[in-house]
């Protein structure tokens, strides 16, 4: 696939890094030659120096035969204009823009083809906020991701001794947790995936377990793998930037929120934007006196959301030491995030990564509904729609064990009934059914199938299984 990326900032870089390893033809446009040179040395891509809103620069970067344009320049204005130019002059089939302002959202008339022609709006701040909100709701989980319009969830959780399933084998799950259908799709032990999951595989304490289940069963699943904490009541947010403000605005009223911000004017702004019961504190989040004074030890969740990785790590470590129950840090550098996740810092989120899944849905071949990039890009979970029938598609009309998935990849769940039999989207009256997959489950045409892929290089093989070709049997 030919992909053009505008802007070699944090988002652009992480998108390029993730896509370049998959044999895509990537060209990056940026005004900073040094930055491009560095990217070119590290990744197999081509850099073009120039201002991306100029058609001549776009032409030099080969926009005429580009399949996908990703605009992630620092300014919203630039990104909007580039998408417009790409669509109107060069007929680029798919355009994606990173837009920070919450007023530009997917589906608004401003974004359609006669407007700015943005097919998909991505916003890392929005993705991070959504990610954190899920964790506030389910504080025991490491990550909760939704599939099939929220019917099915993929839950990542660290198994802790004391959970009913821990120290037991997978075959015992139906007896230990009756009435709840769930499927463990992957277990990571000391950061390495177990490639074969059999009935005799035991869940050990400390394992990172990925489970697929219907969304209403999330809490039961979490309770099976670790003891349930009491629900979150008190949250402390360090850093009142874009993410901090967004999050505080969304959760104010439901939880007790304290927000720490060092800049006085920003504090005042926050105070006017947020309701009165949110406490805006001026100060440094790495100041232990301030944290202690504000009773960090009683916090259920401490969130470090500044733009400085080191500050976030330090303030999290400090808060944990002072007694905060669970701490979460936003970390941009991938190496740092890998380093600290699972140590004293419970969860490390990298924003540019949180947004990647939305892009990947456009890059994956076949009828892919949603993609989530997991474990900072090493693994992936995809939801794809089975098209064609037994004759034209390797997935359709077969039992899961017959399909020939690459080793380690797992079909976790199937959602049936989202489409009518002719393939069109079913309306309001649809009664979708969530089927947790077993080896003998038969996949029907028009099913949404959710596949967990533990290593990225298997994605290509999985895509092939979903591809419809008239000649596949011949």
């Amino acid at each position: 696939m030919k992909i053009l990326i505008l802007g070699a900032g944090r988002v652009g870089e992480s998108v390029a890094e993730s896509l370049a390893s998959e044999r895509n033809d990537i060209t990056v446009i940026d005004t900073n030659p040094a930055r491009l040179r560095e990217l070119q040395d590290r990744l197999d891509l081509r850099g073009v120096v120039g201002n991306g809103i100029q058609p001549s620069v776009l032409r030099e970067a080969g926009i005429e035969d580009t399949d996908l344009l990703i605009a992630c320049a620092p300014l919203d204005e630039t990104n909007l204009v580039i998408c417009k130019v790409a669509h109107d002059i060069f007929n680029v089939p798919t355009t994606i823009a990173r837009l920070r302002s919450p007023e530009f959202v997917n589906g608004s008339p401003l974004m359609d083809k006669s407007g700015f022609a943005v097919d998909q709006v991505i916003c890392p701040e929005e993705s991070v906020t959504a990610y954190i909100r899920k964790l506030i709701e389910y504080p025991e989980a490491l990550q909760v991701l939704e599939f099939a319009h929220g019917l099915v969830s993929l839950i990542a959780v660290r198994a802790v001794a004391g959970g009913p399933l821990v120290q037991h084998s997978l075959a015992e799950i139906p007896q230990l947790v009756p009435n709840v259908d769930m499927r463990i799709v992957a277990i990571y032990r000391q950061d390495k995936v177990l490639l074969t999951l059999e009935g005799s595989t035991r869940i050990e304490a400390g394992d990172e377990v990925f489970v697929l289940a219907a969304t209403e069963h999330i809490r039961t699943v979490l309770g099976a793998l670790r003891s349930i904490d009491r629900p979150v009541k008190r949250i402390m947010i360090a850093g009142g930037g874009k993410v901090g403000l967004r999050l505080a605005r969304e959760v104010q009223g439901q939880y007790q929120v304290k927000i720490i911000e060092p800049i006085e004017t920003r504090c005042e702004y926050l105070a006017t934007q947020l309701s009165g019961d949110v406490l805006v504190l001026k100060g440094d989040s790495t100041d232990e006196e301030l944290l202690a004074d504000e009773n960090v030890q009683d916090m259920d969740l401490f969130l470090a959301l500044t733009s400085d990785d080191e500050d976030n790590i330090m303030s999290c470590l400090l808060a944990k030491r002072l007694g905060a129950k669970r701490v979460l840090a936003v970390i941009n550098r991938r190496a740092y995030a890998d380093l600290v996740q699972g140590t004293s810092i419970d969860i490390a989120i990298s924003p540019s990564h949180a947004v990647l899944g939305e892009l990947l849905a456009f890059v994956r071949r076949g009828d892919v509904e949603a993609v989530h990039s997991l474990r900072r890009g090493a693994a992936e979970a995809l939801e794809a729609i089975v098209r064609g029938d037994r004759k034209t598609c390797r997935m359709a009309g077969r039992r899961i064990e017959e399909v020939g998935l690459p080793k380690g990849a797992q079909v976790g769940a199937i959602v049936r009934g989202l489409h009518r039999s002719d393939g069109s989207e079913a309306g309001e009256d649809a009664k979708p059914e969530v089927i947790i997959a077993h080896h003998d489950t038969v996949v029907q045409p028009n099913d949404h199938v959710i596949v967990f892929v533990p290593r990225k290089r298997m994605v290509r093989e999985v895509e092939k299984l979903f591809q419809v070709s008239a000649t596949f049997l011949f």
Partner: protein, 484 residues
């Protein structure tokens, strides 16, 4: 462990190289040939060693780091000529290992200096192998590997840079390095086919046409005849050679650019290409006039025919001869050899400093001169409408420094070993710039077989040094490279 990861890739390069031996084998199979047994033995040995090497180090394979890239290129260029020399040692009785390695390295670096005599009596397969190695090495076997083996993603671009010539290697025409490598090889292949057919049409036999095609487009200069192009004494064949040498002297990527733009404008508007042709035409005129004025030729037509052929041949670092230009008054051959130091363009198969570095240096000198008169002037070095960054300028100046030091140093070594000044100096220039024949004892009428073993090794080293543009080889000799 870096060394093992590099060995794993070298193993695959050796396997690839063994597969290339199919070409001389095919020639040996078609007719009665004394080299058949030698090539079968060599091909099998190379294949087995390559497979063993890559099988043994299989589990160490990983993504290359930039440092590993240099080690890989260095090792490939040291090891492959060894395997290239193997059939020569087996098939040519009385050929020493030193001379065989020299011959293989000369082929591999597209130099064209030979230590063999009696070429006409050699088995056909041996001559084909010498020329075919030149064709592969001319563009670069690592570029070939990057193009056809899916083995080197990111690390590939690092490798690619060491084998492709010129100061500005960051410019990519396609997003993926493997595609760029494929484009270059595709262009090269197209050029080769047309050259092959043109030679045949001009009157060469099929096998001669193949061999001379190989050595023309690679700007190497091996021939299957002791008399080189004097064997035919045909203006038409010389004309074909001149035409294709001049085409091969400019960057192969330029043809791709022209093809993509569907016009020849990018070609003739390119400053480097203009300078290349201007330098050639200027020197031809000067030398022709000089030769006639000195009475070397009676007629203008004879003077012009020989001047054009030899100036183009030496200036493009090919090194064909149709007669002994060493007999010309010294000014003419010396000017030709100096031209060979810099005339060809970056990204071509030619050797030497490359025209673009020369242009940048000239512009830099002019900039300094203007600055003396107007101390406050802002005049960046501009090439083709784009300002050249200081980083590139510094690398060009550093390159020139090392180039000068290499020439002087190696000349002194050869003088120390007992050669005369003209031979020593021109041998070093001819090897470092991958021209081939020098003057004096290594002139066009004689060859490098007269050198002692030590002198031959010095020349062998000079060739690989010049082909990889110094830095990639010299970096292997710095202690910092080996320190962890």
């Amino acid at each position: 462990m870096g060394a093992l990861a590099v060995s794993a890739l070298v193993g695959r390069m050796v396997v690839l190289f063994a597969l290339l031996m199919v070409v001389p084998l095919a020639f040996a199979w078609l007719g009665p040939d004394d080299g058949r047994q030698a090539f079968i033995t060599a091909a099998v040995a190379t294949l087995v060693i390559g497979l063993l090497l890559s099988a043994m180090t299989r589990r160490f394979r990983r993504e290359l780091q930039p440092r590993d890239g240099f080690a890989l290129v260095g090792m490939t260029w040291a090891v492959l000529p060894m395997f290239g020399a193997l059939p020569l040692v087996l098939a040519v009785p009385g050929l020493s290992v030193t001379d065989a390695y020299f011959e293989a390295m000369s082929a591999f670096t597209a130099t064209g200096a030979t230590a063999l005599s009696g070429l006409d009596e050699l088995p056909l397969s041996v001559n084909v192998w010498r020329c075919f190695m030149m064709w592969v090495g001319g563009l670069g076997i690592i570029v070939l590997a990057v193009a056809i083996l899916p083995m080197m993603g990111v690390g590939g671009s690092q490798l690619f840079k060491t084998e492709v010539s010129g100061p500005m290697k960051d410019q990519k025409l396609t997003p993926r390095i493997a595609d760029t490598a494929r484009v270059i090889w595709g262009t090269y292949f197209g050029l080769s086919i047309s050259c092959f057919l043109a030679y045949r049409a001009a009157g060469m036999s099929w096998s001669d046409a193949f061999m001379h095609m190989c050595t023309t487009v690679s700007l190497g200069g091996f021939s299957s005849h002791d008399a080189s192009f004097g064997y035919w004494n045909s203006p038409l064949i010389e004309g074909v050679a001149i035409f294709f040498m001049m085409l091969s002297g400019i960057s192969l990527l330029m043809y791709f650019v022209a093809w993509r733009a569907k016009s020849l404008a990018p070609l003739w508007r390119n400053t480097e290409v203009q300078a290349f042709y201007a330098a050639l035409l200027g020197s031809i005129a000067l030398i022709a006039v000089y030769l006639v004025a000195n009475g070397a030729y009676d007629s203008w037509s004879a003077a012009l025919r020989h001047t054009v052929f030899h100036v183009v041949s030496v200036a493009t670092t090919t090194g064909y001869a149709s007669h002994d230009y060493g007999q010309w008054p010294l000014f003419a051959p010396l000017l030709m050899i100096l031209l060979g130091c810099f005339a060809t363009c970056a990204g071509s198969t030619g050797g030497g400093i490359k025209m673009i570095r020369m242009l940048l240096l000239l512009k830099q000198s002019r900039r300094e001169l203007v600055r003396i008169v107007h101390p406050n002037v802002v005049n960046p070095v501009v090439l083709g409408g784009v300002a050249v960054s200081d980083r590139v300028m510094q690398s060009v100046i550093a390159y020139m420094m090392m180039y000068g030091a290499t020439l002087v140093g190696l000349t002194m070594v050869l003088l120390f070993s007992g050669l005369d000044v003209v031979t020593a100096f021109t041998a070093v220039i001819a090897c470092v710039n991958n021209i081939g024949p020098g003057l004096g004892e290594v002139g066009p009428a004689v060859n490098y077989s007269g050198l002692t073993d030590f002198q031959t090794w010095v020349c062998t080293f000079a060739m690989v040094l010049g082909r990889l543009e110094l830095l990639a080889v010299l970096v292997l000799f710095t202690p910092q490279f080996w320190r962890r």
